[in-house]
């Protein structure tokens, strides 16, 4: 068994409010609660060798999170998901554990779903106008960057996006760029607020569904 291992897990319900840093801590503790010894880095300040592929924003849910880790000894990987899930807080479920073959840097596209809530407006109309809006060639928004506020076109990071009217809401399905560039789905709603506030939702939430590589093969 190679010692590069990977977990696939979901983060939903109340757990969506656990921040990335807190999640790392929570994961670390869950291994120890489940009786697994994580491998630590060498050096003055040893830390467990775990890394989560694509940090998830607070408030966003996911069915396809990936975390790489190493253990001090060999274990039966088939037992790991159930044992870890039992040691995790409500809302985090480990779906799979396996030897990692590919690097997470190869992740390129993210399948997401979202829900734009409209308390007063007609979802049918909204869905239509949303489709038109995202069909534009450029969607240039102002956003915070490392060097202060900057302009950015998010359109190239959206490979596909579809809207459907629902009850007091519009649901969306999209394929967006996960890395280089990373598109935070929150910016889909933000772009509306900045460029077309008439169809900006009263509330938006998102769920990651699946990860793909640059050739649109499932990434695991």
């Amino acid at each position: 068994m190679s010692d590069k291992l990977r977990l696939r897990f979901s983060k939903t319900g109340r757990a969506v409010y656990i921040s990335h840093l807190d999640l790392m801590q929570t994961m670390q503790r869950s291994f120890s609660r489940a009786g697994y010894a994580l491998k630590y880095s060498e050096g003055f300040n040893p830390h467990p060798l775990i890394s989560i592929a694509l940090p998830l924003s607070v408030g966003a849910a996911s069915l396809c999170e990936l975390m790489d880790f190493r253990l001090r000894e060999e274990v039966a990987l088939s037992e790991l998901p159930a044992r870890l899930t039992a040691a995790l807080p409500e809302g985090i479920e480990v779906l799979d554990a396996y030897e990692a073959e590919r690097k997470c840097a190869e992740i390129k596209w993210l399948q997401i779903k979202g829900r734009f809530e409209y308390d007063e407006r007609d979802p049918g109309q909204m869905a239509e106008q949303l489709s038109e809006f995202f069909a534009r060639d450029n969607i240039v928004i102002t956003k915070k960057t490392k060097r202060g506020m900057g302009e950015s076109d998010i359109r190239p990071a959206i490979r596909k996006i579809e809207f459907d009217a629902a009850d007091k809401a519009v649901t969306l399905k999209a394929l967006i760029s996960a890395q280089e560039p990373t598109l935070n789905p929150e910016l889909l709603a933000e772009s509306l607020r900045q460029l077309y506030s008439g169809i900006a939702p009263d509330f938006a939430k998102f769920t990651r569904i699946e990860t793909y590589d640059k050739d649109m093969n499932l990434f695991r």
């Binding site: 319900g13 109340r14 757990a15 409010y17 656990i18 921040s19 807190d22 801590q25 929570t26 670390q28 503790r29 869950s30 291994f31 120890s32 609660r33 009786g35 010894a37 630590y40 040893p46 607070v58 408030g59 040691a87 995790l88 807080p89 409500e90 809302g91 009263d202 509330f203 939430k205």
Partner: protein, 611 residues
């Protein structure tokens, strides 16, 4: 989850503290329990989840199968505003249900500055603040914690106080409440019966009269309530419930680790220290119990740190054996062990070396007084020699940061005593120059002072606090006496201490001021972000409460004190004697040298004090 909440949470700081769902939380079927208890901690999640008492009582209350006890904390300002805007009432973390639906709200009040937050949490629950304005039996509003040793400033708001340790008492009250609920008792009927349970103080069953000069004339119990309510204790700590499956927060809290309580009470008898008197008698846990509970808790939580809790860790007799037992488990797993509250006088090299194997942190000494004479007067039995010896061992062992804690405004303190603090810091610096192994890393000596607050049930309960001006004069005197550049000086602001002094020794009339502060927006007053001294002073003025009367006035020993109905075990005569010895700068031997017959031992039926 509540739709409204779902919209708010992404906007507030650290939303995970408002959601519940943590590992080891207790979930029950609300249709199947008879009593729902909202365990309210009048401060933030991060503070409350660090509180061992809360963790213990959460589990003892939930050990009753007909009770579901859930946690409730005070939201930080941003969340508070959002909840008000969206009209979301205070809710419990486990179920998300509004606290208004609960059968009891149980507050744990550990410090006076939490009082306005208690009122705020009642209001956020949609309840009237005053017990007189809540005629129905449910929900019962109760409170316990250290603040219960002088419950008077909160007396009009709380239906009943639980005085002392709650492991047995809380459940006895819940047993009675279950009957009351089943049989539809009136609130009055429940409270008069509850007052018969040892340790229960029902303020509405006591009439207080006052002299013209504002002092208490008499405390008159009625309807069978006891003249004195004796604090409850747990005798056998080894047999007492301890949660080895505590809730593990999913977000960072202040004390994010396993806490093991070595013993309750303190053998030292420092005269300024309320805790040293109100937690007597001394009862220890066996090291075997602690090692077992420690390992179990580590396994069940996945924590990477263990800390030992008590008022004076060095006074735990089997400390070396306990450390060995814990380190045997911790070391191979890189789990850190920390020992706070060590005394400067018997901090051994051996012990320090053991800890060093795992992790090295700064040393903190509570020296309290700047001269030997003053330390004798307050019975803080630490000599300069002890301190310097310990520092020497520490510096030789590679430590390079020392914090020295003092109080200014202690009874009998003179300017020489104040200057003595700076002198001692110089001595510590000199010691570092002489003995430090590696001087290249430099040394950091920090002096911190706070303003002494005389507390109920301590020998200094009759003492005046020094005024804000006088405290600041002493701060400046100390500042100008510190010359070394490796010595940093931090001082606690005096105004908070003045307010705390008023609340700590206040009577029922102070309640009006507390309510006014809350009405004018006061909450989370323990946080400098929210505390406003002007708001407090204005409220005192408007409520006709003279802060100086409570904070700065020396009480006559014959005066009826507002908290005289509370018996913590230690006799008043003992406190008087200790105070007199202070004026003679006379030490009292610690309890192990010679029992002072303070009176706390009479609370024990099965064991002897410090056995």
């Amino acid at each position: 989850m509540d739709k409204r909440l779902e919209r708010i949470l992404p906007r507030v700081q650290k939303p995970a503290r408002y959601t519940g769902g943590e590992y080891n939380q207790i979930i029950k079927d609300k249709a199947k329990v008879e009593l729902r208890v909202a365990f309210c901690f009048p401060d933030t999640y991060e503070i409350g989840m660090s509180n061992l008492g809360m963790s213990i009582l959460y589990h003892t209350m939930n050990s009753l199968d007909y009770v579901w006890c859930e946690r409730v904390f005070a939201p930080w300002g941003d969340m508070y505003e959002e909840m008000k805007k969206a009209d979301i009432p205070l809710y419990a973390l486990e179920s998300g249900d509004s606290t208004a639906e609960f059968d009891a709200l149980a507050f744990s009040i550990g410090y006076e500055m939490a009082y306005t937050t208690v009122l705020d949490m009642l209001d956020m629950s949609g309840l009237p603040l005053r017990t007189a304005d809540r005629p129905s039996l449910l929900p019962v509003v109760m409170a316990g914690g250290t603040a219960a040793v002088n419950a008077e400033p909160m007396a009009p708001f709380i239906d009943l106080f639980l005085v002392g340790e709650g492991e047995e008492l809380d459940n006895e009250v819940l047993v009675l409440l279950r009957i009351a609920k089943r049989e539809n008792w009136t609130k009055h009927e429940f409270l008069t019966r509850a007052a018969q349970i040892g340790g229960v103080y029902v303020p509405s069953l006591y009439d207080i009269s006052y002299h013209e000069d504002g002092t208490v004339a008499a405390i008159m119990p009625k309807e069978g309530a006891p003249a004195r309510v004796t604090k409850r204790i747990v005798e056998n700590l080894d047999a007492s419930p301890f949660p080895t499956k505590p809730i593990v927060p999913s977000t960072e809290v202040v004390h994010d680790r396993v806490s093991l309580e070595l013993f309750r009470g303190c053998v030292r008898g420092c005269r300024f220290c309320q805790a040293g008197y109100v937690y007597r008698p001394i009862r220890s846990k066996k090291p075997e119990t602690l090692v077992r509970q420690g390992i179990e808790t580590l396994k069940n939580t996945g924590y990477q740190d263990v800390t030992l809790l008590s008022l004076s860790t060095s006074d735990y007799r089997p400390l070396p054996g306990l450390c060995d037992g814990l380190l045997e488990y911790c070391e191979p797993r890189s789990i850190g062990l920390s020992l706070p509250s060590l005394r400067a006088d018997n901090f051994s090299m051996e012990l320090m070396e053991k800890l060093q194997k795992v992790r090295k942190s700064g040393l903190t000494f509570a020296v309290e007084g700047g001269s030997q004479r003053l330390r004798d007067a307050i019975n803080k039995n630490v000599t300069e020699e002890d301190l310097l010896n310990t520092c020497r061992i520490a510096f030789e062992g590679g430590w390079n940061s020392v914090k020295l804690y003092y109080m200014l405004g202690l009874p009998t303190e003179t300017d020489d005593d104040v200057r003595g603090i700076a002198e001692m810091a110089n001595q510590v610096l000199h010691c570092w120059r002489m003995y430090a192994k590696n001087k290249n890393r430099g040394v950091k000596i920090t002096i911190s002072t706070s303003c002494f607050i005389p507390k109920p049930h301590s020998p200094f309960q009759w003492e005046p606090q020094v005024s804000v001006e006088e405290y600041l004069r002493r701060v400046n005197l100390l500042r100008s006496s510190i010359t070394a550049k490796n010595v940093t000086y931090n001082w606690h602001d005096a105004e908070t201490s003045l307010i705390e002094a008023v609340l700590s020794r206040g009577d029922r009339r102070v309640a009006d001021a507390i309510e006014l502060v809350w009405r004018r927006g006061g909450r989370l007053d323990a946080w400098s972000d929210y505390f406003s001294v002007e708001r407090w002073m204005q409220a005192f003025a408007d409520a006709g409460v003279d802060p100086d009367f409570y904070a700065l006035r020396e009480r006559n020993v014959d005066e009826v004190l507002p908290w005289d109905m509370i018996d913590v075990g230690v006799r008043k005569a003992h406190l008087v004697k200790e105070r007199e010895k202070c004026y003679r700068s006379e030490l009292s031997p610690d309890c192990r040298h010679q029992c002072a017959a303070c009176g706390a031992a009479r609370l024990l039926k099965e064991i002897r004090c410090d056995e």
